[in-house]
């Protein structure tokens, strides 16, 4: 007999599940080692029912990991006979095809038992700053990307599997940090498991099964009721993503069929997989397609397997969006992140108020810095950041968030105390947001300097970049203008962001992340908003005139309504 839950009890129990994952999520910030995890929150905690269906994920999850885990943890669970799991078992794995798309994303998964019965699984994926290998976007196969950990037991029945620890320790540059973060993952799972057991005990439910069915069913229903409102039809879009080096650009062909409350996304016709690290595994492609649809149709409801049920994805094997082993995948976000805006672009005509223009944080910008200090000791630091958000029908794009992924920046003071480098600037770039009725978010500049005095590190300083938009800026929507492109300068000259860059004492590296695309015709933007943007130094007097047809007095920074009317009139005619 399945347990039934009245609406009130259901809400209460559901809330508790979320707070359990959030507790486990919060424990990470307190115990993690790498700044990428502890300061930049590049990790996701979640748990599934006994069948591997996702039940809850951390509120601050990054959607790429979360979406990929929703599929991947289920696969991972199946790698061992289900009756063979024992309390105290912990599995580790970073197989990109099985899980989250690149080797740096290491998953630690544990079964949860209650009264000797397997009830659930808890898993967390951390983006490890270092997984060995060659740090660059232009690797040719996954073996160059680093250490490959197949599904193995890290703990067996509570006993640590020392050879696995040793194997990891000897294949990475910063073993203390990597092992420290794995310990933090084990702790996070422990917190989650303990709380689930406590909940089963407190409530007397005995099993999670019926609650899981109920939650997943209701979530699916909610998602479907929202999709149902979209007119049936096939909506298509295309993304062109700049290729590394001299190769042809990568093309994503997307066709979205809405039929009743079902959505099928077909990526047939997309480019074949590439011989650099931008290849995306199916799970990761799915994650960012799902991210877009979830954000449009049911952003508030806690995420679980039910939300994904109405969504099907066809991605032909061997294409860049469903690459085959052993493709290089380290830089998969350089293509994978584009799925989200491609979905928005396809569905924009059908639901113009539910989408945003392209964002400067797509793809996220990641910098891997490493080298040796002048005393010979190694240092290693990974930082991530976003750009300006795309604008929407009601809002200007926010400045500088990582989108569609999620994460935080690393404070400059933390970066400088962890590395021998200096940060000379970190600032907003005025005029970098795409003009529009609603303005795209502004991009940002960061300038790094290598000291050439007694603080100089040993040359070379290595920098691997994962980013994009150096040639094609984030596009606008409905007449909105694109945001500013990305730039990578070494000593003021264009560098190659797609190769490992090496530099030395005295060198200065500038990294500009793009602004977001605008939404709607800039000539329709409320002139007072433009006046406000100029007064706040987000938009220059010149750009106000050129892009928005708004005349602002350069001295007083006041709006000249009359001159604006005239200028806009003549601009509209032309």
């Amino acid at each position: 007999m399945a347990q039934k839950f009245d609406p009130i009890t259901l809400e209460i129990l559901w809330r508790r599940l979320i707070s359990i994952v959030d507790e486990s999520d919060a424990s990470v910030a307190r115990t993690a080692f790498s700044s990428l995890t502890r300061d930049a929150h590049d990790y996701t905690c979640m748990f599934t029912d006994r069948k591997g269906r996702e039940l809850a994920q951390g509120t601050l999850a990054t959607p790429g990991q979360a979406g990929a885990m929703a599929l991947g943890v289920k696969n991972l669970i199946g790698k061992f006979p289900i009756e063979g799991y024992k309390p105290g078992d912990i599995v580790i794995c970073n197989d990109p095809w099985l899980l989250a798309g690149h080797l740096n994303d290491v998953c630690v998964m544990s079964p949860i038992f209650y009264q000797e019965r397997l009830e659930a699984f808890t898993a967390c994926v951390f983006h490890h700053s270092d997984i060995g290998g060659r740090v660059s976007s232009d690797n040719h196969d996954v073996f160059e990307d680093g250490l490959y950990i197949p599904p193995v037991k890290l703990y067996d029945d509570g006993v640590p599997n020392e050879p696995v620890f040793q194997m990891i320790r000897w294949n990475v540059r910063t073993p203390d940090e990597v092992i420290g973060d794995i310990r933090s993952q084990v702790a996070a799972n422990h917190v989650c498991a303990e709380k689930i057991e406590e909940m089963l005990h407190d409530t007397g439910m005995g099993t999670l099964d019926d609650l899981a069915d109920e939650i997943i069913e209701r979530t699916e229903k909610s998602m479907r009721s929202s999709i149902d409102k979209v007119p049936d039809g096939v909506y298509a879009s295309e993304a062109i993503i700049e290729q590394v080096g001299e190769g042809e650009d990568v093309v994503i062909k997307m066709s979205i069929e809405v039929k009743g409350s079902d959505i099928t996304v077909d990526l047939a016709g997309s480019s074949p997989q590439v011989d650099w690290g931008g290849n995306v595994v199916y799970n990761f492609t799915y994650a960012y397609v799902f991210m877009a649809l979830k954000s449009m149709f049911d952003p508030d409801l806690p995420n679980n397997a039910g939300a994904a049920k109405p969504i099907a994805l066809d991605a032909p094997e061997g294409t860049v969006v469903n690459c085959k082993f052993p493709a290089a995948v380290a830089a998969r976000m350089q293509i994978g992140h584009f799925m989200t805006e491609t979905v928005y672009r396809a569905l924009a005509p059908a639901v113009p108020d539910k989408v945003i223009a392209a964002s400067g944080g797509t793809p996220a910008t990641m910098n891997v810095f490493y080298g040796r200090r002048n005393n010979g000791s190694p240092w290693h630091c990974v930082i991530i950041r976003g750009g300006g958000m795309g604008a929407s029908s009601q809002y200007d794009g926010y400045y500088d968030v990582i989108f569609p992924a999620n994460g935080a920046n690393t404070p400059v003071e933390v970066f400088e105390s962890d590395t021998p480098l200096l940060v000379e600037r970190r600032e907003i770039i005025p005029d970098s947001g795409g003009a529009g009725k609603m303005k795209g978010g502004l991009g940002r500049r960061v300038v790094f300097r290598t000291p050439d005095d007694e603080y100089a590190p040993l040359p070379p300083v290595n920098l691997g970049i994962q980013a994009g938009r150096y040639r094609y800026p984030p596009a606008g929507l409905f007449g909105g203008k694109p945001g500013r492109k990305a730039y990578f300068l070494v000593n003021g000259k264009d560098g190659n962001p797609y190769k490992l860059t090496q530099f030395g004492p005295g060198d200065v590296v500038t990294i500009d992340v793009p602004g977001g695309g605008g939404y709607g015709d800039p000539l329709e933007r409320d002139p007072e908003l433009v006046e406000h943007d100029v007064a706040n130094q987000y938009v220059s007097v010149e750009k106000a005139r050129e892009d928005y047809g708004v005349v602002i007095d350069a001295k007083t920074l006041k709006l000249d309504i009359e001159a604006t009317g005239k200028l806009r009139g003549s601009l509209k005619k032309s």
Partner: protein, 699 residues
């Protein structure tokens, strides 16, 4: 000195200003409540003092202390009514304040809103200078340029300046040079220096905290000066103290220097009161629960001490969503705040489930039963329908409630759409809000490593005693305590608050290599500064110092706080620090790694003055009064155990006497609140008028 027997506590809230006057000799307490006067909050203070003079002739001249808590600071930030403020930063970093930490607090919401910085871009200027992360000077401050920058801000009409330079937490030399320049060029300028406000690593958090301090400094200074003057005019020669969000109290002068530390000090008083009761009755773990109209705040007090956390978010733009507010890094009592109060509105969600809050109707228009135009059924409506509140005895009968309208509202908007009965719907609202609070409470308690099954719940606030029983049941807690005058009783916390100030200095050094003599010097400097700060109060009492360390494994980003004994740090053994760290770490996280290196990050000192004793007034039993005389009658109210309406006995709290004891179900009414307990309780009243409720074990 001997005739100065009175202390006055005064809490300015959003709607009401509460006063509690204490006679230290007799322990007698007089209370007063009047409307807050937002245009000049000291108006209400004067009004209250005058009104209390009517009840207690001539007390003003005999005031020893006036202790004051206020929401003025937080409201100025939320309403953006602070000063026109300028920010001076290191060249290249004027946007730190605006860029924040970048994380999207709601990952699937592409329309999330973020707070607008308190200081706009044109008022954020840069100076050419640079300190390295180890504190050495890379580039000296260009003082000529600095002067120009100050004048530029003056020309822009700035009345307050925040200074926050990169890596200044390691070496403030340039910040102090700027301070001198500003004092010279603009003597009237209000000034906040990051090294003085928050000498800690992480530039966004430090800048945001310093900027916030600068933003509210002029108005706090003006207000406190005015208040001091008004109290003097009324004839008070008592010293004015201000409560800080950390639970300590400090002189008005210090509060005016660091208003950001005051932030929201009213709710903290309830916790301090709870802490005091814990000590008074020797209860180790108290769960303080304060429920008002729009929010409920609670806090776990363990071993007599409430936790203090280092950060706070102010002015969340998406209600109660963590991450949507401005970050300030000041010590605050670790209150858990949730959007659940008497005014919280219930509705049916798109999912077909019941939802209560976080939207609230507040005091105006209020829930439907207030009959002031509110149309959304609220928690108070359900409390009324369930029989917990008396429509004719709300605020002692001053306000008549419209029960019929409340019934209609719940019936039509909740019961029908959900396909349940009126009673199920009303109970659902009451129970769900309790569950929301219980779930949050359990998380909060669990995070602190506590156990809900051993806590004593202490309830405060207008709605607290109505919901405390349900919360206590859900927590599985054995005991519930309702202090006297629970509706305003949090103000008693002012009298028991430690007169304390917390200081911190960051300095990274490995345990193996740190110079302990150098650390002793840091501690001594912090103590000297702390001494100066708290002794401004002009008391002839010795300062007390508590030292602690924030330490971590090399490579970790979060620290673990370790208390250390008094005495010369240079004489402490390294291995003792090590074993202390391992002990604390293992206790918190299950295991520790003695082979991995650890380091110092922050050094902390709490400076305080000795605690003052609060002598509570004892209540007396009137001659010949029996329990029967305290009964007002019987009322039918909902019992979750019987799952039906059953008769509850209604008691008059003002008539209850020491030793009175009876069994639930019971409703105990006082003017500002109502206690509701079910049939699984035993109730006893003690000599101070505290109501003690024992929860009987189910079986």
């Amino acid at each position: 000195m001997s005739d100065k027997v009175y202390r006055l506590g005064c809490d300015i809230g959003g709607t009401f200003t509460d006063f509690v006057l204490l006679n230290d000799e007799t322990g007698e307490i007089k209370i007063h409540k009047c409307l807050t006067t937002p245009q000049d909050p000291s108006d209400a203070v004067e009004e209250g003092v005058v009104a209390l003079s009517g009840k207690e002739q001539g007390f003003v001249k005999k005031l020893d202390e006036v202790i004051h808590g206020t929401t003025l600071v937080i409201n100025a930030i939320i309403e953006r009514k602070g000063a026109r403020t300028g920010l001076i930063t290191t060249k290249g970093f004027r946007d730190t304040l605006e860029l924040g930490r970048e994380i999207r607090y709601a990952p699937y919401d592409i329309f999330s809103e973020y707070p607008v910085p308190l200081i706009p871009r044109p008022l954020r200027l840069e100076v050419d200078e640079r300190i390295r992360s180890d504190g050495t000077v890379l580039k000296s401050l260009d003082t000529e340029e600095a002067k120009k920058v100050v004048h530029e801000l003056m020309d822009q009409g700035v009345t307050s300046i925040a200074v926050c330079l990169l890596n200044s937490y390691e070496n403030p030399v340039h910040e102090f040079m700027l301070k001198d320049i500003i004092l010279k060029e603009a003597p009237d300028m209000s000034l906040s220096i990051s090294y003085e406000v928050l000498p800690q690593i992480k530039e966004y958090e430090r800048t945001s905290t310093t900027a916030t301090n600068a933003y509210v400094k002029p108005l706090t200074g003006t207000y406190l000066a005015k208040l001091t003057q008004r109290l003097e005019t009324l004839g008070s020669t008592g010293k004015l103290f201000i409560m800080l969000a950390s639970g300590g109290i400090t002189s008005a002068e210090t509060a005016a220097q660091f208003p950001v530390r005051v932030i929201e000090s009213g709710p903290t008083a309830a916790v301090i009161a709870g802490q005091y009761y814990g000590k008074m009755f020797n209860i180790k773990d108290i769960f303080c629960f304060d429920m008002g109209g729009t929010t409920a705040k609670s806090c776990l007090i363990q071993k007599g001490v409430a936790g203090v956390v280092p950060t706070f978010e102010v002015g969340r733009v998406q209600r109660f969503m963590k991450g949507s507010g401005l970050t300030i890094q000041v010590p605050v009592v670790d209150l858990m705040e949730i959007g659940a109060g008497g005014g919280s509105i219930a509705k049916v969600s798109r999912m077909g489930t019941l939802q209560v809050g976080p939207e609230s109707s507040g005091a105006a228009p209020g829930p439907i039963c207030y009959a002031r135009g509110g149309t959304g059924p609220g928690v108070t409506d359900s409390d009324l329908v369930l029989g917990y509140l008396d429509e004719n005895f709300f605020l002692g009968g001053e306000m008549k409630l419209d029960k019929e309208a409340a019934i209609r509202g719940i019936e039509e908007q909740i019961a029908k759409p959900l396909g349940v009965s009126l009673t199920q719907a009303a109970w659902g609202i009451h129970d769900l809000i309790n569950e929301t609070m219980a779930a949050a409470a359990k998380t909060h308690i669990a995070e602190k490593g506590g156990n809900p099954k051993i806590v004593t719940v202490a309830a405060f606030g207008g709605a607290g005693p109505v919901h405390a029983y349900g919360l206590t049941r859900k927590l599985g807690a054995p005991k519930l305590l309702i202090p006297p005058i629970a509706g305003v009783g949090s103000a008693l916390g002012f009298f028991t608050a430690p007169r304390a100030f917390d200081l911190v200095r960051s300095h990274k050094a490995s345990l193996a290599e740190a110079d302990f003599a150098e650390i002793e010097k840091i501690f001594q400097e912090l103590e000297a500064e702390g001494d100066r700060t708290i002794q401004k109060a002009g008391k002839a009492e010795e300062s007390i110092f508590e030292r602690s360390l924030d330490m971590r494994f090399v490579g970790q980003g979060s620290e673990t706080n370790i208390a250390i004994p008094e005495g010369d740090f240079a004489r402490i053994k390294r291995e003792d620090i090590r074993s202390k760290f391992d002990e604390v770490y293992k206790n918190l996280y299950g295991r520790t790694y003695p082979e991995s290196e650890i380091e110092f990050i922050n050094f902390r000192v709490r400076a305080s003055l000795p605690e003052r004793i609060l002598q509570l007034h004892k209540i007396e039993k009137k001659e010949g009064i029996s329990l029967q005389d305290t009964i007002k009658g019987q009322r039918s109210a909902y019992s979750p155990i019987a799952q039906d309406y059953i008769p509850y006995t209604v008691y008059d709290r003002y008539k209850l006497f020491p030793g009175a004891a009876f069994e639930g179900p019971a409703i105990i009414e006082e003017r500002e609140s109502t206690i509701v307990v079910g049939e699984d309780t035993s109730i006893a009243v003690d000599e101070y008028g505290f109501v003690w409720i024992d929860m009987k074990k189910e079986e």
